[in-house]
C-alpha cells in the first residue's frame, strides 16, 4: 500500500471529541489527537470535551480562518447526529461544507467496545480513513429545490384531521387521504375520552365537519396511496379511488337509499330463517371472492321441487340433489297486472314507515299469514325466484293455507330482502354470533347493503357494499336505491380510478390496529361468549353503537360483574414487548362507565397502573373511590364454568394476586380485554412506498426519539400519532400539530437546498450499454438513442450509487462518493 503524497497546499484540521465520557471512557482521545497530528496533510489536531457545543464549533471556525484550513475532520458521533452542525460551522467560516468529513468513533466504536486499547486502535483507523478521504474530496454546490406548497396527509384519524386543519388554516392546500369511507379514525368509535370524560363525538365531529368545509382541504376518502415518487418539495403521488357506487358530488346525504335498501350487510355472519329453520347461511367472504352462502335444509324445499309432483304430495322426506334439480320454469308465475314490483315495494316500505313500533311488534307473531310479500320481492325485485308459495292444506273456512318454500337449494342469494319485508317474522334474520362463541359485529353503522359508516360520517355520503348489494350480486336485480335517489347519485357502473397529484411534503398518520386476542387462547376471545375486545366495548358504550350505549351481555342481560384484563398482548414476551400506553387509562374509563351505567362490580387485573399524564393519577384515584376492585396480577386465563348442557355459564378470571401472594379466581359475567395497540398490518407496504424505516416493533421510525419525534430519515416525510408508537389522543394531537408546524416552516421557506450527492454520466466514456437504466430503483436514468448515451435525471436520482458500482465502463461518477474517495477511505482503515 502506498502512502499518498498529500497535495502541497493541503491543510487539514482534525478535531477529536470526548463527548463527555461517552467516547473518552473507552477511547484514549489524547492519543488519537496525537496520532491525527502526524497524519499527512494535517495542519492541526485538537481534542475537546464537547465539539458540538458553541465553544467547540467556534474553535473549528477560528482554526479555519486563522490557520487557513482547507479541509476539516471531526471524530465524534454519527453523521446522522451532528454532520449538519459541523458542516454549518465550516460554511460559517467560509469553507465549502463538502470539504468536511466525519469519523464516527462513538456509535461505531466507543459504545460497542470494552477493550480500551483495541477501541483506541480502531478510532485511529477511522480517523486515518477520514483524513485520507477528506484530502481528495472536492467542493460541491448544493442545488435548490422549489417546494410545492401542497401537502399529502395519509390517514384521516384525529392526527391527520388536526394536521390538515392546521395547514389549511395557514392557507396551503392539503390532500387528506383516507382508506375508509369516512374520516374520524379510531376516535370516532369512542363514546367518552379519558381522563376528563369528554364526549368523543362532541370534540371530534366539529373538526371532521370543518375538514369537509375547507376549500383547500381536498378530501379523498375511500382512497389508497398507490405509489410515491420524487423528493422533498416535488413528490408525485398516485392515489387509487375505490369504487363507492355513490357520486359524492350529487349525493345530498338524505338517507332515502338506506331506508329503502332491502339487502342486509350485517350481521355479516347471518342465517335466514324460514319458520324457525335455517334456510340460508351467509358467511363473510374469504379471499375476497364473494360471500359464501349455503342453503342446506332440504325439508324447506317447495313440494314440487321435492317430489316433482303436485303440492298434495308434499312430503318432508329428504331427496337427492339430482331430484332437486327440477325445472325452474315450473315456478315462473304469470306477471301480475297493475303496479310494478318496485312500485309495490316502495308502497310497502312507506306504509311500514308510518307504523309505530308497537304496531309492528303486534304483527310480529312469527306465524305465516300467507301474504306473499316474500315471493313477490324475491321474484320481482331481487330476481332470484328462490321462494315460492305452496298450498299445504285448508283452514276451517275451506280456504287454502299457503306457506313459502325454497325453489332450490342454490337459488337463494342470502340478501335477506324476504325477511326485510316479512311482516310477521316468519322469515327472519338471525345473527350467527348469537351461537355459542360467535363474535358479534360491533359496528356503528346501519345494517343495509348501502350504508353510512356512522351517522356523523364525513363525507356524509353512503357507500354500497358490493358483496351484499342485490344489484351488483345479481347483475341487474333490485336497484331500489337508484329508483328513490332524486339527485341520481347512485352509479352502479362506478369503477376504481387513479388520480395523480403533485405535492411537496407528506405526513403519515395511519394510526394503529388492535391486537387480535384470539391469538391468546387462554382468554377465550372468539370461543367464549362475553369475552370482548376493548374496541368492541368502546362501540358498545357508544350511543350510536349496537346497544345504543347500554352495557349488555350477548343474551341481552345486564352483567352482574365485569372483569377488565390489562396487558393483553402488551408487555408480553410472546407477543409485543412494549407497553401500549393507553390501556390502563381506558380500562379505568371503562370501569367508571360500567359503574355509571350498571350496578355491576368491576374488577381490574393489572400489572402496574400507568397513569402518567396530566390529570390521569387524579382520575385513577377517583375511579378507586367509586369502589372499583383493582387486583395486581396479570389475568392468567378465563375459564367458563357450566353445568351439563347449560348454554351460558359464569366466567372465571384466574390470576395471582401479587399483593396478597395468592391465586385468585374471580367469577364474572363479562370480560373486557385490553388488547395491545400494534402497527397496521400493511405498515410494511407503506414504508416501502415511502422509503420509511420501522423500529423492531414495526411502528414507523422517527428521525430521533427525543429531538425529532415527527421527522423521518426521508426529508419532507413526517409521521404523527399512533403509527409511530402507541399514543393517547393528547399526544397524538400534539404530534400532529408539531408535524404541521414543520411542514409549514418548509412551505414558508419556499425552497430547500439539497445535497448534490447524485450520479452523473461521463458521456465520453458511456458505451450506451443501458445496464444502469434497468438497475436504477428510481427510474432516474434515461437513454438517448441518437447520441447512444445514458443520462441521469438529478431530480429523480437519490444518490444510492447502484449505477456507479454497476457501470462496466466506469463512466458514472457519484458526487461525494467517487471511486478515488472510497479507495482513499479504505486505505486509511487498512494501513
Amino acid at each position: 500500500m502506498t502512502t499518498p503524497t498529500p497535495e502541497p497546499d493541503l491543510r487539514i484540521g482534525v478535531f477529536v471529541c470526548h463527548c463527555g465520557v461517552n467516547i473518552s471512557q473507552t477511547v484514549d482521545v489524547e492519543s488519537c489527537r496525537d496520532f491525527a497530528a502526524k497524519c499527512p496533510g494535517v495542519a492541526v489536531a485538537r481534542d475537546y470535551k464537547f465539539m458540538c457545543s458553541n465553544t467547540g464549533q467556534e474553535q473549528i471556525e477560528r482554526d479555519i480562518r486563522d490557520l487557513r484550513l482547507n479541509r476539516v475532520v471531526v471524530a465524534a458521533c454519527s453523521p446522522l447526529m451532528h454532520e449538519p452542525t459541523f458542516r454549518g460551522a465550516c460554511e460559517k467560516a467560509g469553507l465549502n461544507k463538502y470539504l468536511f468529513q466525519m469519523a464516527n468513533i462513538r456509535e461505531q466504536c466507543a459504545w460497542v467496545h470494552d477493550d480500551r486499547r483495541l477501541a483506541t486502535e480502531k478510532a485511529r483507523a477511522l480517523i486515518n480513513a477520514a483524513v485520507r478521504r477528506v484530502a481528495v474530496q472536492e467542493p460541491l454546490e448544493p442545488f435548490e429545490a422549489k417546494i410545492n406548497s401542497a401537502t399529502l396527509i395519509i390517514g384521516a384519524g384525529i392526527a391527520g384531521i388536526q394536521a390538515a386543519l392546521e395547514i389549511a388554516e395557514a392557507g396551503h392546500p392539503v390532500y387528506l387521504v383516507e382508506r375508509e369511507p369516512t374520516i374520524g379514525g379510531k376516535m370516532a368509535n369512542f363514546d367518552k375520552t379519558f381522563p376528563t370524560l369528554d364526549c368523543s363525538a362532541c370534540i371530534l365531529t366539529p373538526k371532521m365537519v370543518s375538514v369537509s368545509h375547507r376549500p383547500n382541504i381536498r378530501l379523498r376518502t375511500w382512497h389508497e396511496v398507490e405509489s410515491v415518487s420524487g423528493f422533498i418539495g416535488n413528490y408525485t403521488v398516485r392515489l387509487r379511488r375505490k369504487a363507492r357506487f355513490v357520486d359524492p358530488l350529487r349525493c345530498t346525504g338524505c338517507g332515502q337509499c338506506i331506508s329503502h335498501c332491502p339487502a342486509s350487510r350485517l350481521p355479516s355472519r347471518r342465517e335466514i330463517l324460514l319458520g324457525g329453520a335455517v334456510m340460508t347461511e351467509v358467511l363473510p367472504p374469504s379471499n375476497g371472492d364473494g360471500p359464501h352462502r349455503r342453503s342446506w335444509d332440504t325439508s324447506l324445499l317447495h313440494p314440487e321441487a321435492q317430489t316433482g309432483t303436485g303440492p298434495e304430495q308434499y312430503s318432508h322426506e329428504i331427496v337427492s340433489d339430482e331430484e332437486i334439480a327440477t325445472d325452474l320454469e315450473k315456478f315462473a308465475q304469470p306477471r301480475r297486472k297493475g303496479p310494478s314490483p318496485m312500485q309495490r315495494y316502495l308502497k310497502l316500505v312507506s306504509a311500514q314507515a308510518k307504523m309505530t313500533e308497537e304496531q309492528i311488534g303486534k304483527r310480529r307473531t312469527g306465524e305465516c299469514t300467507g301474504c306473499g310479500f316474500c315471493t313477490e320481492i324475491c321474484d320481482g325485485l331481487v330476481g332470484a325466484t328462490a321462494i315460492r308459495m305452496a298450498v299445504i292444506g285448508k283452514d276451517g273456512k275451506g280456504k287454502d293455507i299457503r306457506r313459502p318454500f325454497l325453489t332450490s337449494l342454490e337459488a337463494c342469494i342470502g340478501c335477506g330482502a324476504c325477511a326485510h319485508v316479512c311482516p310477521t317474522g316468519y322469515l327472519d334474520i338471525r345473527d350467527q354470533a348469537m351461537r355459542r362463541g360467535g363474535v358479534k359485529d360491533f359496528t356503528l353503522g346501519n345494517d343495509r347493503a348501502i350504508y353510512l359508516a356512522f351517522p356523523q360520517a364525513v363525507p356524509k355520503v353512503p357507500i354500497i357494499d358490493p358483496l351484499s348489494c342485490i344489484h351488483l350480486q345479481t347483475e341487474g336485480g333490485c336497484g331500489v336505491c337508484q329508483n328513490v335517489c332524486e339527485p341520481e347519485a347512485i352509479n352502479f357502473d362506478d369503477r376504481e380510478e387513479i388520480e395523480e397529484v403533485q405535492i411537496g411534503q407528506i405526513l403519515v398518520s395511519t394510526g394503529f390496529q388492535l391486537f387480535d386476542a384470539r391469538g391468546m387462547a387462554q382468554y377465550g376471545h372468539g370461543r367464549l361468549d362475553n369475552v370482548i375486545s376493548s374496541l368492541d366495548f368502546e362501540r358498545m358504550l357508544n350511543s350510536n353503537g349496537p346497544t345504543g350505549g347500554r352495557i349488555r351481555l350477548k343474551d341481552g342481560r345486564e352483567p352482574r360483574a365485569v372483569a377488565i384484563v390489562h396487558c393483553v398482548g402488551s408487555r408480553d414476551e410472546n407477543h409485543h414487548r412494549y407497553c401500549s400506553r393507553v390501556c390502563c387509562m381506558y380500562a379505568l374509563k371503562f370501569a367508571h362507565l360500567v359503574k355509571d351505567r350498571t350496578s355491576a362490580e368491576v374488577y381490574q387485573f393489572y400489572i402496574d397502573i400507568r397513569a402518567y399524564g396530566k390529570g390521569y393519577e387524579e382520575f385513577y384515584s377517583r375511579v378507586l373511590d367509586e369502589g372499583v376492585h383493582v387486583i395486581r396480577g396479570k389475568g392468567a386465563e378465563v375459564i367458563e364454568q357450566r353445568w351439563g348442557d347449560q348454554s351460558d355459564g359464569i366466567l372465571h378470571v384466574r390470576c395471582e394476586d401479587t399483593l396478597i401472594g395468592k391465586v385468585r379466581d374471580i367469577p364474572v359475567d363479562m370480560v373486557i380485554l385490553c388488547n395491545a395497540l400494534e402497527p397496521q398490518g400493511d405498515a410494511g407496504d407503506l414504508a416501502a412506498k415511502l422509503g420509511l424505516s420501522r423500529s423492531p416493533d414495526g411502528f414507523f421510525l422517527e428521525r430521533h426519539p427525543k429531538l425529532d419525534p415527527v421527522g423521518t430519515v426521508s426529508d419532507g416525510i413526517y409521521i404523527a400519532g399512533a403509527c409511530q408508537g402507541p399514543k393517547d389522543i393528547p399526544d397524538t394531537v400534539a404530534q400532529a400539530q408539531a408535524a404541521a408546524a414543520r411542514i409549514l416552516a418548509t412551505v414558508s421557506k419556499g425552497a430547500v437546498l439539497l445535497d448534490p450527492i447524485k450520479a452523473s454520466v461521463d458521456h465520453d466514456h458511456c458505451s450506451g450499454c443501458r445496464i444502469c437504466n434497468t438497475l436504477c430503483p428510481y427510474q432516474a436514468i434515461s437513454y438517448d438513442a441518437e447520441s447512444n448515451v445514458s443520462t441521469v435525471n438529478i431530480t429523480l436520482c437519490k444518490g444510492c450509487g447502484t449505477c456507479v458500482a454497476a457501470c462496466p465502463s466506469g463512466a458514472i461518477n457519484g458526487a461525494g462518493f467517487s471511486d478515488r474517495q472510497i479507495m482513499a477511505e479504505l486505505e486509511g482503515i487498512l494501513v
Partner: protein, 299 residues
Amino acid sequence: MAAPTTDYAYFPGCSLESTGIAYDKSLRAVFRALGLGLHEIDDWNCCGATAYMSVKETVSFAISARNLALAERQGPRDIVAPCSACFLVLAKTRRFLQERPALREKVDEALAAAELSCECRARIRHPLEVLVNDVGIAQLRAAAKRSLRGHRFACYYGCQMVRPERYFEPDREFPMAMDDLFRALGAATVDYPLKVRCCGGMQMVTNEPVGLDLTQGLLDCAVSLGATAIVTTCPMCQFNLELYQDKITARAGRDLHLPVLFFTQPLGLALGCDPAALGFEHQVVPVPGDSLTLAEAGS
C-alpha cells in the same frame, strides 16, 4: 390390512410397563389396526426424567440422548413417546443438543464411551399428533368399525405435551386435536376448559393436599359438565386423576368418581380392536361394561 406405510421407533418409558400398561396395550393395538409399524427401541433406558434434569442437567441429557442414539442405530424413524413426560424430556434433549454446541460436545463424549453417537435427526412425536397428522382424522374416521356414539368425553391434554415445546401451535393453550378426533368418531366431547391445567404432577407424592386440590378441580369440572369419562394422553395424568378418586370424593363430600381412560382405548374400540386387548381390566374406576359393546359405525 394394508401393508405398513409408516414405521416408528417406540419409546415406551417406565410408566407404560407399570401403571400405564393399559396405554401400552391399547397403543400397540391401535397402531397394529392401522397398519403402522411400532419398533420398540432395543435396550432403552430412563428418559432422563423431569425431576432429575434440575438436579444433574448434563448427566440427565446424556442419559436421555442414549435413547436417541439407540433409536438411530435401529433406523431412521421418528420416535413415538406416548408418556408426556418422556415426550417432553426427549424433545427437549434433542432441541438442546441441536442448539447448544457445548452441551453437545459433552454428551457426545459420554455417548462415545458407550460406543454410540447421535445425529439428532429423528423427531420426537406424541402418538396423538402422529395419528392426527400422519394418518389424519378423516382416514381414522374412514377406518372406524364402530361408532362412539353415546360417549361424552372430557378430553384432557395435560401440560407437558402442549406447552413447553409448543407442540400444538397455534392452539397451545387450547388444543382441539383430541376433541376433533373423538367428535369425528361419533362421541360427544364436553367443552372442557381445564384441558391443559396441571394434574398435580409429582406434588401428589411430595405435597398431597396441593395435588389433591388440583385433581379435584379437574374431576369436579368434568363431572359437572356431564362427562362420561376423562380421556388422557399421559400416564401420570391418568394415574393422578384415577387413583385418588375415593379420597377426593371423601374430601369434596360429593361423588367425583369417573372413569379415566387413555385416548388409545376408546380409539381402539372405534377401530374395531378386541376390547380385551385394550387394557380395560387395569382400570381402577371401572368402565361400565355396556359401553364397551358399541354400535357398528354408521348405524
